[in-house]
């Protein structure tokens, strides 16, 4: 029989997970006997024992990418999303699938658990290490995360397929618009839905896909990337499913007006002259034209047309097109504007021999365009993309070279790195290291000391990220 859910249960569930995440994070940074850790322990124990008094049992379980509390799936609310994400990652790292608490617990029980949990990372069999260590504590039982099939294991392959299919579909859309053909919006929404599902389940892999810029068909990849990054950002902002689909569709079409721009201007290897710039600056209006020609008017069409029209406008009313009565820019436009600039600045273009590295781009956007971009959206963007975005080439204090492979939402400055050279400068086929890992003396094993642009050295990101 299904567990009956009331609002108190939901609050309890969210609070337990939140406190556990805070507790783990504090314990990672401080010694187990530190006041902050002790305070977090007491808070957590008191919360758990209260719930045990009411419910008798607590079952905290991971299924897929969600936490279930006494069989109830926890919904990700904005204020807890980062904690939930990071906790899922931590559980998976030590292969912990379920925590079952049957009786009241003591602070000592929890201290033992946390101590083992943090050390289990270093063990070859982290779950066994954790479970063995907990065998004397009867009130807490642990279960290993359920084994998943080979097919599911190959998530990277699925994400890759979804990504390329999205590009292929967007290419088809552009061609249809070019030929004044009708677009199948049902299919477009399905493509967006599949992309969003991957963002929910495999955000980092998909973000990694957008970091590869070596494709020949820039326009389609750029539109796909903008769409993926926009939706990922929308999800970080806790948009509901409908808003995410609308944002996904609107962002696909943001540059559709470029269809009208002659290729010799779009791909001109040298600087554009004034008259060529005038043509480029017309693409937002041409975009509106293309969208309005494409389908009848509804809220989705209006949102898409507004994004196409406003994505080069700035919040300080600079940018283009210049309008008679400038008004506040739409939220979707502000999202797409940041994402569009970021993706374009990091891309290889015929007219730009040296595209910026992802981290330099973020810095550039922050320093030079601060008054032009929405600070709130930018903040969420940086937190999603990471201080060292995926694909950034880094030198570690170990003198190894690596590429940022995945972000760590708890410690944005300590991402997971794919090592590409050893400390002697010998090329090695990458293996992953986590910059959040510590040695027995509570010191980080590796730290970034410098970042560089992989493009300067012809490093093919695809080789590592795909």
């Amino acid at each position: 029989m299904a567990y009956s859910v009331n609002s108190e249960t939901i609050n309890n569930a969210t609070e337990v997970i939140n406190q556990l995440a805070i507790f783990l994070r504090t314990a990672k940074v401080h010694n187990i006997n530190n006041t902050a850790v002790i305070s977090a322990t007491d808070k957590f124990v008191s919360l758990v024992n209260n719930i045990i008094g009411l419910e008798n049992t607590i079952v905290l379980e991971i299924r897929g990418e969600y936490f279930y509390f006494n069989d109830y799936r926890i919904r990700y609310s904005p204020e807890y999303i980062l904690n939930l994400d990071s906790l899922i990652r931590e559980f998976k790292k030590v292969e912990l699938g379920t925590i079952l608490i049957k009786n009241k617990i003591s602070p000592e029980d929890i201290k033992v658990f946390i101590g083992l949990f943090l050390k289990s990372h270093l063990s070859e069999n982290p779950f066994d290490y954790l479970k063995d260590g907990m065998s004397d504590i009867a009130s807490i039982q642990l279960k290993k995360i359920q084994t998943i099939s080979d097919e599911t294991l190959d998530k990277r392959k699925i994400v890759k397929r979804i990504y390329f299919n999205a590009v292929s579909f967007y290419k088809e859309i552009f061609n249809k618009v070019r030929n004044d053909e009708k677009i199948n919006l049902k299919r477009a929404k399905r493509v967006i839905t599949s992309v969003i599902n991957q963002i929910i389940e495999q955000e980092q892999i998909l973000l990694g896909m957008t970091a590869i810029k070596d494709y020949d068909e820039y326009t389609y990849h750029h539109s796909t990337n903008v769409s993926i990054l926009s939706v990922a950002l929308g999800r970080r902002m806790d948009m509901n499913h409908k808003m995410l689909i609308d944002l996904g569709i609107a962002s696909i079409f943001h540059d559709i007006g470029k269809i009208e721009v002659p290729n010799e201007i779009l791909n001109k290897p040298s600087n554009l002259n004034d008259s060529e710039w005038r043509i480029i600056k017309k693409h937002p209006k041409w975009g509106v034209n293309a969208i309005l020609k494409m389908r009848s008017i509804d809220d989705l069409t209006i949102n898409s047309a507004i994004v196409a029209f406003e994505h080069h406008m700035n919040i300080n009313h600079t940018g283009y097109p210049q309008v008679e009565n400038p008004a506040a820019l739409d939220l979707f436009s502000r999202i797409v504007s940041i994402v569009d600039q970021y993706d374009a600045m990091t891309a290889n273009r015929i007219y730009r021999s040296n595209p910026m590295s992802p981290d330099t781009t973020l810095r550039e956007l922050q320093e030079k365009s601060w008054e032009k971009l929405d600070p709130l959206v930018f903040k969420f963007f940086v937190n999603m993309i990471g201080i060292y975005p995926i694909g950034t080439l880094v030198m570690l204090n170990s003198k190894e070279l690596g590429l940022v492979f995945e972000n760590n939402q708890d410690f944005l400055h300590r991402p997971r790195i794919m090592i590409i050279s050893d400390n002697k400068g010998n090329w090695i086929k990458g293996h992953l290291v986590d910059l959040a890992d510590k040695n027995g003396n509570d010191e980080y094993l590796r730290t970034i000391i410098k970042t560089m642009n992989p493009k300067h050295y012809n490093i093919n990101l695809a080789e590592y990220l795909l």
Binding site: R161, F164, E217, S296, L393, L401, G425, N426, I449
Partner: protein, 546 residues
């Protein structure tokens, strides 16, 4: 539960789904039949979940399976539940114990949509996904996925593989300190940021009319080529229709007002002005007025002042569509809005209104007669003659009232004829209309009618109506006529004479001249009760100045 029993329960669930699917399209949510169908389905699910944790259905093109057994079979192309899921890629559908009534209803509402309609932009899978139903899971085969582009793109990337030598280059660059940096942007997200986001979402979901219109007018101001003019006019039309379909007449008024400014501005480009005129005219065309009719016929509220503003920008081309609408309107309370619109527009082109007088629907002709009365253009007279003969007395009465207000010799002559209409109500209306004209000719007609022998054949009520009409003239002529009538010895002695005299007394009372009091007093003690009572009332009326 035995497998046979389970299969029966599952088949019952499918049947309940099919039944609910039909019913939700036919009845509103608060209808008992609607509620019952969903309740039945929930009961079926509950029955199954007493012994099972989940119900997993496998979907094939024409068949739905439970535990490898067929529980639904249909090979038709229409109304095929299996095909509905299958064509959108659903291959497995699982209902979990804990399924709520809300989730069941959401599920039924989705599958009961007409997915063949162009207006539905989602398929079953996208809608399930949007709803994010906790206890309904599905496995989908994404048929749109293919490897073709992936292979091509991967081949391109293969050719750009980096060489190990470049590592040395990086190393030397880093150690020569020519390359490399480390500037971390730290922008922690705070609770306040999440609150700000909620406000942003609210703003995002607000109406985007102004923004859309500003965008459209920006495009409009920069069109150059002929095709662009055609396109922009088309976009405006689409937006206007969209606004009206949403009941947003305010937005249309905004468009009209901005178009009018463009038209009135001398500096506006000639082509743009032409487009603006065309668009303004479009707002009064059949398609838009028909949509307005949908709103007027619905329960949607329409603000009178907004509607008036809308009409104020319309041109005469809106007259015929509004007249058409007048014939189609079902809601009586909104009829006045359309009539007022036609009164306003009809002043600009009254001849278009005359067509409405030939409408086969009596109520349209009647409304048109009313509208012509409000416009009060004497030229309408000729066109009113035909409906004056209309078979419906409500029309004849309305036309008579209009003729009465238009006045003029021709109208009075027509009204005189109406005094012989075979319907007493029409005759009474004609009398009242004649009285309202205040014309001497009309007075003369009434007096002649009263003096006519045949007058005595009228009922007392009708006679009284004549004198009421006559009382509109409070002049000497009428006074003398009445006094003379009272003093005259009748050729028709008896009750009819008393009836006539009572009416004359009544009329003197209505006229209210004090010099009539002595004459009236003479009849206060008359042997005829009717005359006595009428005289008494008339005197009182004059003395009290009523």
């Amino acid at each position: 539960m035995e497998i046979c029993e389970q299969l029966t329960t599952v088949r019952n669930i499918i049947q309940a789904i099919l039944k609910a699917k039909k019913i939700v399209n036919l009845y509103p949510e608060n209808n008992p039949i609607y509620i019952k169908a969903l309740k039945e389905l929930s009961d079926r699910f509950s029955e199954f979940f007493q012994d099972n944790e989940s119900l997993k259905l496998n979907i094939d093109k024409n068949t739905i399976f439970y535990d490898s057994e067929s529980v639904y079979q249909n090979s038709a192309m229409l109304d095929n539940l299996a095909l509905l899921f299958f064509k959108d890629g659903v291959r497995e559908l699982t209902f979990k114990n804990g399924l709520t009534a809300k989730e069941t209803e959401a599920f039924i509402k989705i599958i009961s949509l007409d997915f063949e309609k162009d207006t539905i932009d989602e398929d079953v899978v996208t809608l399930f996904w949007e709803k994010d139903l906790d206890n309904i899971q599905y496995i989908v085969e994404d048929q749109f996925l293919s490897d073709d582009y992936e292979k091509k793109a991967m081949d391109e990337l293969q050719q750009k593989t980096s060489t190990p030598e470049s590592i040395e280059e990086i190393y030397s660059a880093i150690f020569s300190e020519e390359e490399g940096s480390k500037n971390e942007i730290i922008l922690p997200v705070t609770d306040e940021d999440f609150h700000s986001l909620l406000e942003e979402f609210d703003k995002h979901n607000q109406d985007k009319t102004d923004k859309s219109l500003n965008m459209l007018f920006e495009l409009f101001s920069e069109v150059e080529k002929e095709q662009e003019y055609l396109d922009i006019v088309n976009y405006f039309k689409m937006f206007i229709e969209f606004f009206i379909k949403k009941g947003n007449i305010n937005a249309v008024v905004d468009v009209q007002s901005r178009l009018k400014k463009l038209i009135d501005n001398e500096r506006t480009d000639r082509e743009i002005r032409k487009c603006a005129v065309k668009l303004l005219s479009f707002t009064g065309g059949y398609s838009i007025i028909d949509l307005i009719g949908n709103i007027l016929n619905s329960s949607q509220k329409i603000e009178e002042n907004v509607f008036k503003s809308f009409v104020s920008f319309l041109d005469t081309n809106a007259i015929l569509p509004f007249m058409k609408l007048l014939g189609e309107l079902k809601a009586i309370h909104t009829r006045k809005l359309v009539i007022d619109a036609l009164v306003y527009l009809g002043k600009k082109d009254i001849s278009s209104l005359y067509k409405g007088l030939n409408d086969p629907r009596w109520y349209v002709v009647r409304n048109m007669a009313y509208i012509l009365r409000k416009i009060n253009d004497k030229n309408a007279f000729t066109y009113l003659l035909k409906p004056l003969e209309h078979e419906d007395i409500r029309v004849r009465k309305e036309v008579i009232r209009t003729l009465g207000e238009l006045g003029g010799d021709k109208a009075i002559t027509s009204l005189q004829r109406c005094l012989h209409d075979n319907n007493i109500h029409v005759r009474k209306t004609a009398l009242s209309a004649l009285g309202n004209t205040g014309a001497a000719a009309a007075k003369q007609i009434i007096m002649e009618q009263i003096s006519d022998k045949a007058f005595n054949d009228n009922s007392f009520d009708e006679k009284k109506q004549y004198f009421e009409a006559l009382a509109n003239w409070k002049d000497r002529d009428v006074y003398d006529f009445l006094v003379k009538m009272l003093s005259k010895r009748s050729f028709f002695p008896g009750s009819k004479d008393y009836d006539n005299k009572a009416c004359a007394v009544y009329c003197l009372g209505l006229i209210g001249r004090k010099d009539a009091i002595p004459i009236l007093n003479e009849y206060k003690n008359n042997s005829n009760k009717l005359l006595r009572e009428y005289s008494f009332s008339a005197v009182q009326r004059i003395e009290n100045g009523i």
